[in-house]
Amino acid sequence: MTLKLTEYQGVLSRTPFPNRPSQALAQTMPLMNESDFRMMASLPTSDARVFLSFADYFEVLARLVELTLEHNSDIEMILVKISMPSGSRLPKSLLNEKVLMLQDIHSEQERLQNENIPFVVIEDYLCRFRLQQGDNRFFYRCYHQDSEANLDEVTTYLADTGFEGEVNRVH
């Protein structure tokens, strides 16, 4: 049976948890000499609006992993594109044995498609700080044998946390 792709494409348009204070936890690496400042200044910066803190960001990702595993129990793997630093210890669900966090999902996404197992890809370009490249786009892809994988809880959660987007089914 061939995998069918159901993809949510969206963009974060506001802070995910309005009226809830959270620690910023934003830490810039200590810069100690002229060279450090020069090298840091040479990196590209982002113009995208920053809507979430480090903790908010990992909370959203962790909840999406939990919802995926709760409502599509046959999912064998979840690839999560992660940009470091994390700022603090990652939530437990991101360390689940069905999750691999990696810098770029393309290579493994291709391999898992060829393996024909049900899997999910969470690929985001959400900005947590100015040094992070991104434009607040967000993708959730479910590769599944069923014609309609259950994305209802995921899309409801995304809408509740400030994402605007839609689901496309690619058969």
């Binding site: 690496m29 200590p30 810069l31 100690m32 000499n33 060279s35 450090d36 090298m39 840091m40 040479s42 990196l43 590209p44 910066t45 982002s46 064998e76 793997m77 992660i82 940009s83 470091m84 630093p85 994390s86 603090s88 210890r89 990652l90 437990k92 360390l95 044995e97 691999l100 966090m101 990696l102 810098q103 770029d104 393309h106 290579s107 493994e108 391999r111 393996e115 197992i117 040094l131 992070q132 490249q133």
Partner: protein, 282 residues
Amino acid sequence: MSLLIKSLAFHSLPDPLFEQTPDVQTGFEQLVPVIEQQTRDVVACLADDEKKSIERHFLCSTMIELPFTSGALQWNDIRKNIRKDDIPMPCTYVNAYECASWGYSLRYFLTRPSSRYLLVSILDANLMDFEFWRHNENWGHSGFGLCTLLLEADDSAMESLTTGCATTYNSTAEFATIIRRHMMSVEDVTLALPFFPDHIRQIFTRMLNGSPQLPDLHEQYGHCFGSDPWLTILQHGLDNTIQEQQDFLACSIALNGYFSMAQVSINSDTQLLFQKSERLPS
């Protein structure tokens, strides 16, 4: 259960890395020949059809994150540019688990192994010459280098691997307890622990004093992040004649508490390579 080290290489990189620090992209391009050469050297012990059977080569790192996060480097572009037809160059970049990334990459691979052999490289190089990465109160002096492991995994290799995360914020002591518990259930296994300065090492020394341990090489190399356990196994293999199979528990712990332990073996056929280079041209 078995995870056999077929080949293990460490290329010690200088500090500073370059005569004059170039932009990040140029700097990374200078490291590509180092990665390619080490990959070639490590798989040289295999027949051509065995080399071709290798489907996964994970590249792990603790330090090299800001160049990717900032968009100065794009892994997908690098991956396509460094591809070779005759050797399996790195395809997947994992740094989220910091020093424990090699173990989580192994866990992912062993869930559905696609071949008998796999490659894991660990690259920690001070590409941007940041002082923070040179010396740090959390681990003392840093050591830089590229380590590549060619592992042969049998059907039960997953049993050789433990990955997890400390539940307290006294991660090192908690990790030492987990190691101690593991060592009570095995025989003739020698510990290969991460390198730390004396005041941190004491946690391991005191809590694991009943278990045989390979030397902590912090004074010689500094803390080499995820490469530490592999470097001490390599040094042991180079300093001694390996006649029979020897078993080690390779252990790494990350600053945020993620940890990896793998029981691995070397034997008389294991290929061991050490190289040290002077500063790279800018």
